[in-house]
C-alpha cells in the first residue's frame, strides 16, 4: 500500500513539504542522507552556521510536548541562519477554543515561510499542508501514530554511517509498534532503502493489524527475533499501556522483551542499538546496554540535527522552486 503522496512534492518531484516517508523514492531518501552527511561536518566546525535559509522564518508549532525534537529542529534552523520562533500551542491558543486552522493562519499572517509541526492527531500535517497553508512549507515533526519522518531519516543516517549498505542488513524493531509513529516511519524507510530483513518484535497487543503491508517479519519471541541482527531499534514504552490492559506490568514486559546484555549477545557481534529516546532504563532497555559502546542513542541526537538541516533546506528550496513555477505559470496565463 504505497500511494504516492504528490502533496509533498513539487512539479519537479522535489520536496515542498515533508509529511511522510510514504511514497518518497529511494533516490530522494538517499539524497537526504547525503545532504545530512555534509551538514555533519558543519556541526563539527567552530562556526556552525551556513547561510542557506538566511531571511527565512521557521515557526516551530508543537501541539504536543517534546524536548529533543523541538530543540534539534530549533538548532537545525538556526544553523541554517533562519529566524526561529517556537510555540508550545498545547498550553496557549487551543485551550482558548481557537481552531487549528485559525492558529496556523495567524502564524501564516506573520509571514512564516515554514512550519515545523507536531500534533496528536494522525494526518494533522497533511491537513495543514492541504487546507491551511499550501504556500508555507510544512515539516511533520510527528503526527499521532502516523509518521515521524525526520526521526525515520535520522535513524537511517545512524544505520548507514555505522553499518553501511542497507541491502545486507537485518534490522529488528522491538516494543510498542502499535502506538509508534517512529516504527511506522522506520519500516517504510527501511523497505524503501532496500533492507531485506526487517523484523518487528512485540506481543500481539502492541502490534497493529495489517503489518504485512510493510513487508516485515513478525516475532513474539525476542531471542528468536534478535538472532544475528545488525541493528536493534528499541521503542519507548508508555505507562498508559499497562492501564489500558495491553500488558500486565513493566517488569513482565522487561522480562519478556527488555534488551539485556544476554539478549544483545544473540545479535551480530558488531550490532548497534538505537532508541528514539527518552529511554526507560529497566523497562525496555538495561542500563548496561544503554551505556555500552554499541548504543547509538546520543549519536542519534547529533545526527538528528544534521538530518533536520537537510530536510529543512531541501524543502525550502523545493517550496521556492514551486513558487517560481507557479509565478511563471500565472504569468503565462496572463500573457494569453
Amino acid at each position: 500500500m504505497t500511494p504516492a503522496c504528490p502533496l509533498q512534492l513539487n512539479d519537479h518531484g522535489r520536496l515542498r513539504h515533508f509529511l511522510s516517508l510514504d511514497g518518497l523514492p529511494r533516490e530522494l531518501l538517499t539524497e537526504i542522507l547525503d545532504t545530512a552527511d555534509s551538514f555533519l561536518e558543519v556541526g563539527a566546525r567552530a562556526v556552525k552556521k551556513v547561510p542557506l535559509m538566511r531571511g527565512m522564518t521557521v515557526c516551530n508549532v508543537f501541539f504536543e510536548n517534546s524536548t529533543r525534537t523541538r530543540t534539534t529542529f530549533e538548532l537545525a534552523a538556526k544553523r541554517l541562519s533562519a529566524d526561529v520562533i517556537t510555540l508550545n500551542v498545547s498550553t496557549s491558543s487551543t485551550s482558548k477554543g481557537e481552531t487549528l486552522t485559525d492558529t496556523l493562519r495567524t502564524l501564516e499572517a506573520m509571514a512564516a515561510d515554514m512550519f515545523v509541526m507536531r500534533h496528536a492527531d494522525s494526518g494533522a500535517a497533511h491537513f495543514v499542508a492541504e487546507h491551511v497553508s499550501p504556500n508555507v512549507a510544512i515539516i511533520n515533526g510527528g503526527d499521532g501514530r502516523h509518521a515521524h519522518p525526520t526521526q525515520g531519516m535520522l535513524d537511517m543516517l545512524t544505520i548507514r554511517r555505522h553499518k553501511g549498505d542497507f541491502s545486507q542488513l537485518k534490522v529488528a524493531i522491538v516494543g510498542d509498534i502499535l502506538h509508534s509513529r517512529v516504527a511506522r516511519s522506520n519500516m517504510i524507510a527501511l523497505k524503501t532503502l532496500g533492507c531485506p530483513d526487517i523484523r518487528v518484535i512485540a506481543p500481539k497487543t502492541l502490534l497493529p493489524v495489517g503489518l504485512e503491508q510493510y513487508g516485515v517479519n513478525v516475532y513474539h519471541n525476542i531471542e528468536q527475533g534478535l538472532k544475528d541482527v545488525d541493528v536493534v531499534i528499541m521503542l519507548r514504552l508508555q505507562r498508559e499501556r499497562m492501564r489500558s490492559g495491553l500488558l500486565p506490568s513493566e517488569s513482565e514486559f522487561y522480562r519478556l522483551f527488555g534488551l539485556s546484555e544476554q539478549r544483545v549477545a544473540l545479535a551480530h557481534p558488531e550490532a548497534i542499538v538505537m532508541h528514539p529516546g527518552p529511554i526507560n532504563r529497566g523497562v525496555e532497555i538495561d542500563s548496561s546496554v544503554a551505556d555500552s559502546p554499541r548504543a547509538m542513542i546520543l549519536n542519534q541526537v547529533t545526527y538528528g540535527i544534521a538530518v533536520r538541516m537537510a530536510v529543512l533546506s531541501m524543502t525550502m528550496s523545493g517550496q521556492n522552486e514551486q513558487r517560481q513555477l507557479d509565478a511563471e505559470k500565472s504569468a503565462q496565463q496572463e500573457a494569453r
Binding site: D22, H126, R145, A147, G210
Partner: protein
Amino acid sequence: MRIQISGARLLDPASQFDQTCDIFIEGGKIAALGDKPSGFSVEQLIDARGLIAIPGLVDINASLREPGYGRKGTIASETRAAAAGGVTSLCCTPFTKPVLDTPAVAELILDQARDHGAARVYPLGAFTQGLAGDNLAELVTLRDAGCVAFTNGLVPFANNRLLRHALEYAATFDLTVIFQPQDRDLAEGGIAHEGAAASFRGLGGIPETAETVALSRDLLLVEQSGVRAHFSQITTARGARLIAKAQQRGLPVTADVAMYQLILTDEALLDFSSLYHVQPPLRSLEDREGLREAVRSGVISAIASHHQPHEVDAKQDPFAATEPGISSIELLLPLAMSLVQEGVLDLPAAIERLTSGPARAMRLGAGSLSIGARADLVLFDPDGQTVAGDNWLSRGGNCPFIGHCLPGRVRYTMLNGRISFRQD
C-alpha cells in the same frame, strides 16, 4: 388537481408490476392505472415517455438537524434535498437539540415538516431520556405523538439489565426498536475500521467485533423479549450473517445498510480526507461484498441514506477531530442507479430496498403505487445523468460524491400528487 402521467414504465416492486402504463392522479391519490377512468378530465398532462415511474423512495434514517443544529440543516432544507434524491418519506433521527425524547419535540418537528417540508417526515424517538442509556423515554406517549420507532443511536445502555427491561417494555406495546450495534469498549479510541488502511495512517481502529459482539448480545435479548427489532447501518459481513441466521430462526428482525457503505470502503482513508469520516466506519472490501450479498438476498431489506449534513467547520480539522457523517440524501436514487449499473443489484431489487423494503421495516403505509394509494412517486430518466453537486440543496456540503457524474436523473418527485421536485 387531476394529473395524467403518460408513457412511463411503471415499476412497483411491492406488487411486482412492471410495464408501460399511464397513471391517473386525483385528490393526491392514484385514481387509476392504464386506462383513463370515465369522466376524468385531465388538468395537467406529464409526458413521461422514456422515464420510469417508481414509488417515492422511503429513507428510514436521515438526520434533518432541526431543532438545534440549524447551521447543519433544517427540516425545510433537508427535505428539499430529499425530494431531489427521489425521497417522499423519511424517518428523521432523534439526535437533535433538545433530543427527541418528549412529545413537544416530536410535535415541533411534525409541525415544521407540515408547513415547510418537501417530504413526509416520520420521527424516530429517543429510546432513553436524553439518549443517556438509562431511564426510558415515555415510549407510548411518543408513539402517540407520531414516533414510528425508537433508537438510542450509537449510545449504549448503561448495562444489559436496563437494556433487557427496555426491550421487554417496548415489546409489551409492540413498538419497533432500532439498534445500531457497536460495543463502546471495543470501539473506544477508534475512528476508522481496524484494518490495513487505518493502521498505515495511524488512525485508531474500530474492530469488526465492536459490531458483531454487540449484535450477538442484542439478538439474544431480542429473542428473549420478543421485541420487534430493526438493525440499522450494519457495516460488517459477519454482522449480516448473524442477522440472516436470526431471521432463519424466525426472529422478527429486519436490517438496513447505509447507501455509502455499499459503495465506499476503508481504502478511501488514504489521504486522510475527513469526508470519509463516518460512524460506524467504512469497512473492508470483504465487508462491502458481504453487505451487497445481504442486500441482494433480502436479509438486509432496506437501504437508507444515513444522511448527516454538516457545516463546513465541522469537517475542517485533522481526521480524528472532525464530526462524522456524509450528506447524501439528495443523491439516493443516482447512487442506487450506480449500483444497478455496476451489476450489484437489478433495478427492481434496488428500488424495492428503497421503497417497500424500508416501509415494511418501519411499518409505514408507503412505498407502493397501487390504486387508492397516496400519489408519492418519482419519475426518473434511467439514461440521464446527475452531476453531484450541481444545484446542491442540502445545507451540508460534506459529500464525497460531489463532482462525480452518476447515472440516472430524477425528473419529477411527487408528494401527495404535488410536484415536490422537478428538473429537466
